[in-house]
Symmetry: C2
Subunit: 760 residues, 2 copies
Amino acid sequence: MLGLMNASVFESFAIWGVLLIAFLGLGYALFLRKQVLSQDKGTQGMQDVWNAIRTGADAYLKRQLKSILPLILVLTAVLFFSVYVIPPSDEALKRFSNFAPDMVRLIVGFGRAAAFIMGAFFSLTVGQFGMRMAVEGNVRVASASRRSFAEALKIAYRTGTITGMLTDGLGLLGGTAIFIIFGIASPDVLLGFGFGGTLLALFMRVGGGIYTKAADVGADLVGKVEKNIPEDDPRNAAVIADLVGDNVGDCAGMAADIFESYEVTIVSGLILGLALVSITGELKWIVFPLLVRGIGVLSSIIGTYLVKGKKGEDKGQDAFKSINLGFYSSAAISIAAFLILAHYYMHEWRAFFSVAIGIVLAIVIDEVTKYFTHTHHAPVKEIASSSKTGSATLILRGLSIGFESSAWQFIVIALTIMAAIVIYWGQPVVFILYGVAMTGIGMLTLTGNNVAMDSFGPIADNANGIGEMAHLEKDARQIMADLDAVGNTTKAITKGVAIGSAVIAAVSLFGAFLTDVTKVQAQMGIVDSLRLLITGIRVSEPIVFVGVLIGAAIPCLFSSLMINSVARAASLIVDEVRRQFHTPGLMEGKVKPDYKKAVDICTIAAQKELVGLALIAVLSPLLIGMLLRVEALGGFLAGVIVSGQLLAVFMATAGGAWDNAKKTIEDGLYGGKGSDAHKASVVGDTVGDPLKDTSGPALNPMIKVINMVSLLAAPIIIHYRITNAGVIISMVLCVVVIFGAIIYSKHGALSFKKKGETGF
Amino acid sequence: MLGLMNASVFESFAIWGVLLIAFLGLGYALFLRKQVLSQDKGTQGMQDVWNAIRTGADAYLKRQLKSILPLILVLTAVLFFSVYVIPPSDEALKRFSNFAPDMVRLIVGFGRAAAFIMGAFFSLTVGQFGMRMAVEGNVRVASASRRSFAEALKIAYRTGTITGMLTDGLGLLGGTAIFIIFGIASPDVLLGFGFGGTLLALFMRVGGGIYTKAADVGADLVGKVEKNIPEDDPRNAAVIADLVGDNVGDCAGMAADIFESYEVTIVSGLILGLALVSITGELKWIVFPLLVRGIGVLSSIIGTYLVKGKKGEDKGQDAFKSINLGFYSSAAISIAAFLILAHYYMHEWRAFFSVAIGIVLAIVIDEVTKYFTHTHHAPVKEIASSSKTGSATLILRGLSIGFESSAWQFIVIALTIMAAIVIYWGQPVVFILYGVAMTGIGMLTLTGNNVAMDSFGPIADNANGIGEMAHLEKDARQIMADLDAVGNTTKAITKGVAIGSAVIAAVSLFGAFLTDVTKVQAQMGIVDSLRLLITGIRVSEPIVFVGVLIGAAIPCLFSSLMINSVARAASLIVDEVRRQFHTPGLMEGKVKPDYKKAVDICTIAAQKELVGLALIAVLSPLLIGMLLRVEALGGFLAGVIVSGQLLAVFMATAGGAWDNAKKTIEDGLYGGKGSDAHKASVVGDTVGDPLKDTSGPALNPMIKVINMVSLLAAPIIIHYRITNAGVIISMVLCVVVIFGAIIYSKHGALSFKKKGETGF
């Protein structure tokens, strides 16, 4: 069975068992959904606000689907026909040896196209369904907070868990199903699955990031700064867009991002695992990661179900304790099960150590993130203190802390790879790459818990907003404010894990790329054997160094364009909100603003801006591969990873630290709200917001999209000569489209009349 | 002769001729010095101010010498005894074949130590002598501006040219002299020369950068922001420190930086040239770069002498025209001479094209820098426009422009390397690396003109300051203000060239490193031949990737520490200036402030801060080399170059663009001085100043110091095993010292009492 020569009975059962666990995870998500939906939605006033948010969210989701669908269709066709450019691998011919070669080609083509659609659809589902559930949860949490803290906490966390279990379940389902059907031929198809997931995640991250910050910055600039009215004031036309934005960015964007890391680590884990299978003849290398993931889902189900508030006094602390209890229960169950697996199934410890290091890495990155961005530690205190000499010194201090955190994150990732080297000391390079992939698998074991903790943030935030706008009772609003504070912390923690896992996932993909290239070259007789993995990717080769430099340029360009996009979209919101403030009766609260207009502006802006950025990510590796060949493409990927990580960590840390520095000042430090120190800290926060919520996070899926495209394109690039007319035409097309995309993203993405006057 | 088998009569004469040209350049510098010193020093009031600046500058130079000398002595000993760890190369034994091997060892040891001292001393001389001359020039320019614009321009430019010709002359003298004495054994010794120059340049860049910005930010924060008194107001205790700082940073720091690039390109050019000599048996590869440099010096002498103002109306334009005339005359003479050289001596065109591309590269980088930082182009206009919505949007726009410029600079450098690949298509890799080195040689051909243009900036700036403080006539002050504006532009242009040449120089050094490693490995029988240059530096090797990641971390850490150093030193100045403002009678102008105190604070701070940073730069490559071996060290260098370039360009561009955005607003845009837009732009400028004048520029020599240390250490690292007790002890020592240095630079570099309260 499985198209695998020597699967033991246990292994066959185990793999079907993992599939079952995937469905169990999804079933658990549905169960929680029913539980949440059965809660009451509170007063009419609350439901009015909630309806506005829901309508806004729906509009965004529909519009997003509409603009993404054509591209998905085109790419599905491209992936299907790609088998007619590059024939299926030897493994595929072996797997389907009872079919004619032409038929196998068709099977693989269909498989790849279907896997792509599946990956895209799953990523979309996690984002969209998760976000819909978050919106459903908001109002119910607000209503529950009128009864008790414990109940509100439980509903908020369980709503978040729905997204978490969807992420787990769908990621595992896709990978396992492909493996069951295609067996040793899986890599041919898995790439389609991975590409679909990463591409959609890129869309949702970029679109969500632009939406949320355009609404946020736009609302604040006019509301808080110009008109001096509080946040979430119903008279501000952008306030609903702002609330929708929290869901779009933190729920949909983040969930799709983590889903994609989850999926990509399983894709690269399976590809590298299969390489080991072909070297050692042992099937365990590929069954292991699937079992680890299955265990993770089970332990997440148990752990997340344990989270519920107590009716105690110190509510914030209680909530933390409960969420942490859930997390550590899951972790303990997982590790115990991994130990059993290592002893009784693997009969060796190396794979266990790799996975365990993943869990350690998650904790270390968590601590590093906390150190640099939490109010209790030196960096945020220093930033807050520098507010006394004005915003310039505060910005400088934040930049300095951002750069420092980048340095340490590099060291942490380097140590992780070192660990894989030490664990697989003396083995061929493929083993080390497999070790890194297993670290990624381990790091994302508790994705269910992580996503739950992350989604909890915007749900609590929105509930708080509904409470504010519907003028709920003071007690209930205090409960929601407490919940919101807890949510801010859990959200920040998962952000660090998201970046760290993205980098590890990208490195695993890079490993898969190297293996893939060597495999193709071995089949063509260019290199001797997969065992040696001697690809020609030497930085000492000038053309590879050229690749590294161009690769390093891409994240810089991307960041720059993203910041501009936010600024541009925000300027449209500023204009709109200003315009609406002139509506007679609005400031007195007699006339309601037109929330929908602001929502529309954000929705359209977010969708328009992402086209150019997506084209750059998809086409640049193709161009480099065709023009400079596959070795330079390897260098390009290394450059993208290095510069991408540098910028992603820098922006996330600096942004988070400025945000929290502002909060400590708002809590009364250096004169508190309204003081000069506070004004300086608001500048820092405004600078940091688009960095930490738009540009920085968008780099995660961008890095992986580029890696996925390279993996897909590598065999074609190796086979074809640069002198081929089709290749030359493609290259010219790529250059034209890339430059068009850059110009589009820089200037033309949005046409607006008063460009020079909006201040952006 | 020359220890070279087959030098033709022309070649022998040519090399001695180059040496003669080097002396000619130095003689020209002395001639200009005499010319400048013969000018009058103006009124007593002017001389009083000038004396204060001179005393401050002298104090800095003396203190610097005192703190650097012990380190130079230690390193001289280390370099001398290094020949007893690694024996001299085969080439050295061949060159001095009439000596016993032990004697040859002694000769090479002495040579290397002497070359190190020479490199250090030359670098120091360029910085210190150039700065002294700038100070001498200041007051004379101020005095001449009371007579005519043309005369003031001529004196200012000629004073700058003194530093320019020193840079040219000393760089050429050192390289040529070593080549004449050591012939084919030059690489053994040249490394000492290069290391001495880069290390001193690092000191002068770091120290100068901290000094100048601490004084500037400190003076502005209290004077302009708190007390609302104009810049260069004599009541501000930090005003003299600020004027001294301009010299310390822009004269001494910049000149040492460019000198070091000049020197390092000749070092790597000669090393790679010798590799080609050994492959082809033709001496021309090594004679060519020396001749190119010789031609450059001659054409700079002619070109710079042409610069003198006309007695016209439009003074700023006239000045530009005259300076440009000088530059393009030099360029035209050079290119014509290169053509003759290519046709009659080289009998081929490849080397000519490489050098010509260097000149083109200088112009392209110049244009890119101008586009991103000049007031006439979109980026600065956009930043200025975003000032209307406050400092946050202005900062964001600047960050975005900084990132974008990094992206394009990467592409430009990548295209340059691509050009070398195309020019040497089909040749072994060493030829391509040689081509890159020749591009570096070409790019710095007109160093004499470049340094003159750069030094012109602070000279004009200081003259203007003297005019302000000595209350000169209105006409004279207008002339000085015009000169100052011209100086700001020429200064900005050369900054782009400095970064670009630093990257190209670093890539050349990286090439020399690869060649060197292969040579040693070939001698040990690890690889076949230098011709193939197959080093094991594959990014596909996990340990190399670890090296890349750690390498990328270093510039991040460095930037972070530098920003903190400036902030800390500036906070000391703020305290001091505030304290002095309380002196009775000072605000009324009856009592003079104690300028010396502020100068002392800056001097001590600058020297203390650089120790930790220098240790990190010197020890980190040693540690990586010993711990992870030479392949990972190669990856480390690539990581340092990529992340270093990203940050250096980002900081220089963002800083420059903010600065000019402020200037356009001060010229009347969006309400001009005092408007809200202006306040926002001042925040941007204050953030940008330490980035563009301290952290960014310091990365140039840092990248090269790390490359030089790696080159020096490579043979030792290849020979020794990691299990050697001495190596283990060294590694532990390195770790301890590096972490000590980080902690020292982060916290302890300066002890000050009210740490928590100074706002930094």
